[in-house]
């Protein structure tokens, strides 16, 4: 959290008009959390940006060193609170990799179902807030936002009847999952999935060819392929720039190789390309959920006995880096175990942190109004940026 705004680090062609330093955030309607962007403006054009983060810093990495393998997964949800399932997933995967703990097939499928539903829920929130950024709380953006929230509720209802909570789940545990499906859940899930599939068509009708939407997104915030590769962004951002990189494909985990799905790649690199990528991902995630429900095997949901005490899970000395494809990209957990019940060191590789680092590269040269559109298309979650 830096309080010094360095002189604009980016010199663009100077038009001769007086420069204006404008502070956007940390409390700003479209800051997506607590994010401060110090913009240097020439008229309406942004010529420099300094991104200030850290307002939500809780030092998760230190926290993880003080909590055992049994305790931390439910805290891990708090890094990326919009897609809480994925961060838990990365942590338990890392722990299981060091301990060489097998995960039963049913647990793997349940993990996939939860992760994909979470991706849909997260993308719904992204679409809503992004349109809110572009359309305003007093305009069409709010309409799309409320539609998306309305549909997201159905997924949260599913999570609620599965684990009992709507935001921070604690569904994953080392060696499996904590909860089995309640009776009737699979049917309810199928209905929800079909319903959301229909409603996504509605959003597309509202946005797809809409000239107002197109002029705001096409050619805005272009990330070239080279830039995308240089900065290390991942997820829908890098796929929108023509790089075919999806961990579910390049390094299948948790039985993702069993499922048939398409990894969308767009070459435009602009906000519209990222929108297209995510819209396809919606459908593909729903497809994966359907397949997983169809083929869900019987069996135990965890390879380890149920938790009875805090230090029950001990993991031998070693280190591992586990990554999962979260809604925002590569969510990774680098874990060093020293043989005790607590990790020696843990590093979160938050997808939003790396994705947000692209902002200073692409925002200069755009108008003020584009800043929020670009930021929305990056889809940062500040719990994950600041950790």
């Amino acid at each position: 959290m830096s309080t010094i705004a360095p002189s604009t680090r980016v010199e663009l062609d100077y038009t001769g008009s007086e420069r204006l330093t404008m502070n956007m955030g940390p409390q700003h309607p479209s800051a997506h959390g607590v994010f401060r962007a110090i913009l240097t403006l020439e008229g309406e054009q942004v010529v420099g940006i300094d991104a200030v983060i850290g307002y939500l810093h809780r030092c998760h990495e230190k926290l993880a060193e003080t909590l055992t393998y049994a305790q931390y997964p439910s805290i891990a949800s708090k890094t990326d609170y919009v897609a809480a399932m994925t961060s838990e997933f990365a942590y338990v995967r890392a722990a299981a990799m060091i301990g060489k703990i097998e995960v039963p097939k049913r647990a793997q499928y349940l993990r996939v179902i939860a992760a994909e539903l979470q991706r849909v829920a997260s993308h719904l929130l992204w679409l809503g807030t992004w349109c809110l950024d572009m359309g305003g709380a007093l305009g069409g953006g709010a309409t799309v936002f409320l539609y998306c929230i309305r549909e997201r509720e159905f997924i949260l209802d599913l999570f609620e009847s599965l684990v009992g909570a709507r935001l921070l789940y604690g569904f994953y545990q080392v060696g499996g999952v904590r909860y089995d499906l309640p009776p009737g859940w699979a049917e309810q899930c199928r209905e929800t999935v079909d319903f959301i599939d229909r409603r996504i068509g509605e959003y597309e009708r509202m946005l797809e060819d809409n000239p107002f939407f197109l002029v705001r997104t096409q050619g805005v915030g272009v990330i070239s392929r080279e830039l995308a590769q240089g900065v290390g962004i991942s997820g829908p951002l890098v796929r929108g720039s023509g790089v075919n990189y999806d961990i579910r494909r390049t390094e299948p985990y948790s039985s993702y190789e069993d499922f048939d799905f398409r990894v969308p790649v767009e070459t435009g690199g602009d906000c519209y390309a990222r929108y297209r990528v995510r819209m396809v991902e919606f459908r593909e995630s729903l497809k994966i959920v359907r397949q997983a429900l169809d083929r869900l095997p019987e069996g135990p949901i965890s390879s380890r006995p149920g938790l009875k005490s805090v230090a029950q899970i001990r993991i031998p000395k070693g280190e591992a880096y586990a990554r999962v494809e979260g809604a925002r990209g590569e969510v990774g957990c680098y874990l060093i175990a020293d043989g005790s019940a607590k990790p020696y060191r843990m590093k979160w590789r938050g997808a939003s942190f790396s994705n947000l680092a692209i902002l200073p590269h692409i925002i200069p040269g755009h108008k003020v109004a584009d800043v929020v559109a670009i930021m929305g298309s990056v889809d940062p979650v500040f719990g994950e940026v600041d950790r």
């Binding site: 909570a165 545990q173 080279e226 949901i301 009875k308």
Partner: protein, 193 residues
């Protein structure tokens, strides 16, 4: 390529990005299509739940307010003060003191700082006697923070006041873990069936 994109780069990239068709019929159709969607939603039923007037149905596994319960058969406090929940609680909001008894132990004090609780259900999970459970209750807000510091009496009172959720320690442990059948048999034997 230089370190950052310059304005000229931005302009070039903007112009190079693919454009959608700009035919007038397409535009008109898209605009009318968007307005049709909003019009269609105008006649849908609102999804609002009038919260304090109408309670929504809580699912069976709802993780809400925490409570202590009495043993159903003997009517005694189920908590034996073993402090397992205190150790497992990630934000460390539970404090228990044990009172040694003749036949069994009790919790001398049991405090729960609900304002810091994160409802992860780990305390329920580890409880060997199913004493701490979660309730189907959502209304936790209060005007005084001190009211959220729950002691043993308050926790028992909450246990009587609300409906209990499905999860208890034994149920959770039964659901997880690989040797499911074997352990189920064990429990039956222990219960004398």
């Amino acid at each position: 390529m230089s370190d950052v994109q310059t304005a000229a780069d931005v302009r070039a990239l903007r112009d190079a990005a693919p454009r959608a068709r700009t035919d007038v019929p397409v535009i008109i159709r898209a605009i009318l299509g968007a307005m049709r969607v909003t019009l269609r939603n105008l006649f849908r039923k609102p999804v609002t739940v009038h919260y304090p007037d109408k309670q929504r149905a809580y699912p069976d596994r709802y993780r809400g307010l925490l409570a202590l319960v009495y043993d159903k058969e003997t009517g005694e406090e189920a908590c034996i003060g073993c402090r397992l929940c205190e150790y497992v609680c990630p934000p460390a909001v539970i404090k228990v003191e044990m009172l040694k008894g003749e036949k069994r132990n009790y919790a001398k004090t049991f405090t729960l700082e609900l304002y810091a609780c994160e409802f992860c259900e780990l305390c329920v999970q580890v409880c060997p006697t199913d004493a701490i459970v979660m309730m189907k209750s959502f209304d936790l807000s209060t005007t005084d923070r001190r009211e959220l510091l729950l002691d043993k009496d308050k926790l028992h009172a909450i246990g009587r006041q609300f409906e209990q959720s499905w999860a208890t320690g034994n149920r959770l442990r039964d659901m997880q873990g690989p040797p499911k059948q074997a352990r189920a048999v064990e429990h039956k034997e222990a219960a004398g069936v």
